[in-house]
Structures are given as structure tokens and as C-alpha cells.
Amino acid sequence: MSVAMTGDRGVSAQPEAIPLDAEELKRARAAKIEAVGRWVIPIFVLAATVVLWDRVCVWKEVPHYILPRPGLVFQTLLADWSILSIALLNTLKITFGALFIATAGGLGLAILFTQSKWIEISFFPYAVILQVTPIIAIAPLILIYVDSLTAGLLICAWIVAFFPILSNTTLGLNSADHNLQNLFRLYGASRWQTLRYLRLPSAMPYFLAGLKIAGGLSLIGAIVAEFVAGSAGSGSGLANQILEASYRLNMPRMYAALILISFTGILIFLTMTLISHLLLRKWHESALKREV
């Protein structure tokens, strides 16, 4: 009764020894160059920019209180590390705290929205209003009403970060394949089973795309809130360091703090990309290597 297999187990099993023709060799070489270039070229551009920055400072004799040389910025970063590291830690706490709440809240609200049309109709407009009102305009109010500085900062960063997760996940939960939905109905799946086995996996790529945006936004939200709060106390973050340094015209420290913020942003982006890749690489089109 069994049917003979068609096709091979996998393409990867093909022996290496097959003679490659010139066309294939060329394509393989191009692929390799592209893979290396993807990393090397941006790094090279960065290095060139830093060198150019340094050269411009020297050639034009720019004073260090206007534009410090990269070397000086780096020295300041090391010298002021004890102050900057505390600020960095505070900013990271707000950023990741907000990202966590935004993820949980966005996901939970999205699930709630798909369970009941009425809940979605009632609350979605307010999510949109929160999103379209610039955070810088609401932040002073929030920071006045909320006693704890940390809580105020968290709320501001959360407001900025949660919308992409909410709207992306809602879209994802609603775009489960119709035939699969019918199949689930046919087999008498409960609401919970349909959510667990069909809607959530379908929403995964959308959710992850939202998470990638939210990661960057929660950092932006944290920095903006810190600027508005403007405190110089124990809870002060990198934004406060920039403000303070600017009052004193301490340009090297401003640049050092700025570089730390940028690196944090890049790191968050790379982490999200990695998570997304690990979760999707087995099945989703976006993460698949196409075999040529």
C-alpha cells in the first residue's frame, strides 16, 4: 500500500565533486564576495569616516571644545567610565523595562482584540491617539502626575514602543490562512486551540517585525523622557549626561555619551534580528536562504 518515494532527501546531500562550469563558479564567487562584503564594507566606511573626522580636525585646526578628535572622545569615554557606565545602566534599565512591558502589553492587547471585535472597536482608537501624539508633548504631564521618576520614564518609553507591537501582532493574528482556519473549525478546535496552534504561529513573523521596531523606539522613548525629566540625581541616564555636558561645553563627554547611545541602539537591533532569525529560519520566507 505504501507509495514509493519521489525526489531526494535533500539538496544538501549532493556530492561536491560535480564539475562546476564557469557560470556556476562565477555565481559562487559572487555569493562569497557578497557575504564578506556585507560585513567588511560598512566597517570600512565607518573607519574611513573616523579617519576623515580626525583629519578635518587637524587640517582645519578645529578647537576641541567645538569638535573633539575621535581619539580624545575615546579617552574621555575611558576616563569618565565610572559616571557614564552608571548613566548607561540607568538608560538600559528604562529601555529594556519599557520594551518588556510593551511586548507583554502589545501582545496581550492584540490577543484581546482578536478575541472580541467590540474590545478592538472600543480601544484601538485610543492606541492610535497615544501613538500619534508626540511623546515629547505628553512626557511633562506624565512626569508631573507620576511620583516615581523610574515609573514616569518607563511609561513614556512604553507609550512609544508598544504601538508597533500591538498593530503588527493584531495584523498577524488576523492573517492566518483561511483554509487552515476552516480546517481547524472542521476538526472542532476550541478558541484557545485555534489561538495557540494557528493564530499565534501565523502572527510570529509580524510580531517579530514589530519587536524590531519597538526595540529601537523604546531606546528613543527612554532618551526623550530623560531629556524632559532633566534630573541630575541618582536616576539620571545618558540623556542627562549629554544635557549636563552641554551646559559645561564638555564636548568630548557629549560625544562619548552619544556614542554609547548609538551602540546601545545597534546592539538592540542586532539582538532582535538574531532572535527573529533563530525563530523563523526553519519556515518563514523572510529567513530562508534561497537555493539558486
Partner: protein
């Protein structure tokens, strides 16, 4: 197996009780399309019925009504052999597309119907592997759908339909997107499985040749409005194989059914 086939041949379908009974089913969509008009049809236990008709004549709609995915506008579907309040029927559906979950392995896809009934991976394992063996894909349990060819995906879909050991199997143009060789092969597989397990099959198709090869009864439908215009028995003995495909009996049936289909399409155009 021969005993079973003989039994099937003796027992003309008209004698056994219907398992599904459509009574005056009509379906009008909200945009005014009359997809089905007063369709009555008795499907008997163990039959292999093909619904054959031009595009848009309501074949898919009929299947969706039988499975209760949509309700009829008027008329009703009865399952005379089941308890009155039984909600779920022991049926499986094979869609035109494989309709697999891309994030799940072949194993998990076939496991799904059992999983929804609360069976753990361990409890379901034997049955899942058995179903995969029936379609010859047990080697591919750990693969993802994207790693399979179109025909293999369709077989996974069939395995998923088989894993619940259904009494009734509904198939909506399951092989329409496949090449002829794969299609013939899957035709044979389905026939073999049908003879072994004694299911009732409702098979929707565009193809006269496929319907004659597979079924012991062909219901010809016409469009605008969708309705049954002809109900033809195909009394050729099973098992059928390649020699049947080239026989003059087969050619004769194909000619008759083609004629009926053309008549149906002609009458449809008059409207």
C-alpha cells in the same frame, strides 16, 4: 481484499442506506449569486462519488455545506446514521491546496487533528507514522513543508485526513495543481486506500477522465444556477489499474460522461 470488493459489487448502492442526505439544499450568497438551487442527493455508505461540473457550478459550495462550514439558505443536510445531536461528523476534508502549517514539521501537521482532540505527541505517534506510511512519506516526518514537492505536500495533506480514520472523506479538486504522472499515482493510492478501508468518498473534480477512473457514481452538475443534472453509475469492477485506463469500457464511460457534461454546460448557457 477481493472479498470486500465482491461484497461492494453485489450490494448495488441503491440498496444500502444513505449516510449523507442533501434535501432541497439551496444557497444564495449575499451578493445575489445563486450557487446552488434545490440540490438533492443521497450519498450511500461506501460509495465513491464524484461531483463533476464546470467552474462555478457550486461543487465547492456543496462540500462546504456538507461539512457545515457554511449553512444552506434553505433545505437541509441529514446524516441519517448518526445520533441526532452529534455535532462533529467523522469526516475529513482535503482542500485543493495542501493547506499545511508552514511552521510545523510534516509530523506535526499530520498530528494536528489528533492534537486538537487532546492526544499527546507520544500517544499520537503510532497513528501519525502509520498515516505517513500509507502515503509513503514516513521518511519525511521531520521535514518542513517547504522542503517537499507539490505532490508530496498533497500527500501530507491526505495523510492528515487519514489519521483520524474518518468514515467520510471529502476532497475538493485535490490533484488539480499536479502534473499528470503524480496525479495518476495519487489516484491509484486513493483507490487502494478506499478499497482497504471502505470509506465513503465525495470527490470534486473538473476532469472527466479522473472521475470515470475513480468513482462508481458521477454526479454531473450545471452552473447558473448550480444544480444536479445527471447521476450516472460507473459499473466497472475494482480494483482498477492502468489496464482499465486504456480499456474500451473506460473510453465508453468517458464518452458518455463527456456528453452529459457538455449537455449540462449547453443548458447552462441558455440562461
Amino acid at each position: 481484499m477481493t472479498a470486500m470488493v465482491e461484497k461492494k459489487m453485489q450490494e448495488t448502492p441503491a440498496q444500502s442506506a444513505p449516510i449523507i442526505s442533501l434535501k432541497g439544499v439551496s444557497k444564495t450568497f449575499s451578493n445575489g449569486t445563486v450557487a446552488l438551487n434545490n440540490m438533492s442527493l443521497d450519498i450511500r455508505q461506501g460509495e465513491f462519488v464524484s461531483l463533476l461540473g464546470p467552474s462555478g457550478c457550486g461543487k465547492s459550495t456543496a462540500l462546504r455545506i456538507v461539512t457545515n462550514l457554511t449553512g444552506p439558505t434553505s433545505g437541509k443536510v441529514e446524516w441519517p446514521q448518526e445520533r441526532a445531536n452529534q455535532k462533529e461528523h467523522e469526516l475529513s476534508f482535503v482542500f485543493q491546496e495542501p493547506t499545511l502549517m508552514p511552521w510545523a514539521t510534516v509530523f506535526a501537521n499530520v498530528w494536528l487533528p489528533l492534537r486538537l482532540k487532546g492526544l499527546s505527541r507520544k500517544d499520537a505517534e503510532d497513528r501519525v507514522m502509520e498515516a505517513l506510511q500509507m502515503v509513503g512519506l514516513d521518511q519525511f516526518a521531520k521535514s518542513y513543508p517547504r522542503e517537499l514537492s507539490g505532490g508530496m505536500k498533497m500527500r501530507v495533506s491526505i495523510a492528515r485526513a487519514l489519521v483520524t480514520k474518518p468514515k467520510v472523506l471529502l476532497m475538493d479538486e485535490p490533484f488539480a495543481a499536479l502534473d499528470e504522472i503524480t496525479r495518476f499515482k495519487l489516484n491509484n493510492d486513493i483507490l487502494n486506500l478506499w478499497e482497504t478501508f471502505g470509506w465513503t468518498v465525495i470527490f470534486v473534480t473538473h476532469s472527466v477522465f479522473e472521475s470515470v477512473y475513480l468513482s462508481n457514481r458521477i454526479v454531473v452538475m450545471a452552473a447558473r444556477p448550480g444544480r444536479v443534472v445527471n447521476d450516472m453509475p460507473i459499473d466497472a469492477p475494482y480494483p482498477r489499474d492502468e489496464s482499465f485506463r486504456t480499456s474500451s469500457v473506460y473510453a465508453g464511460f468517458c464518452r458518455d460522461v463527456s456528453g452529459a457534461l457538455h449537455a449540462a454546460m449547453g443548458s447552462g448557457e441558455e440562461h
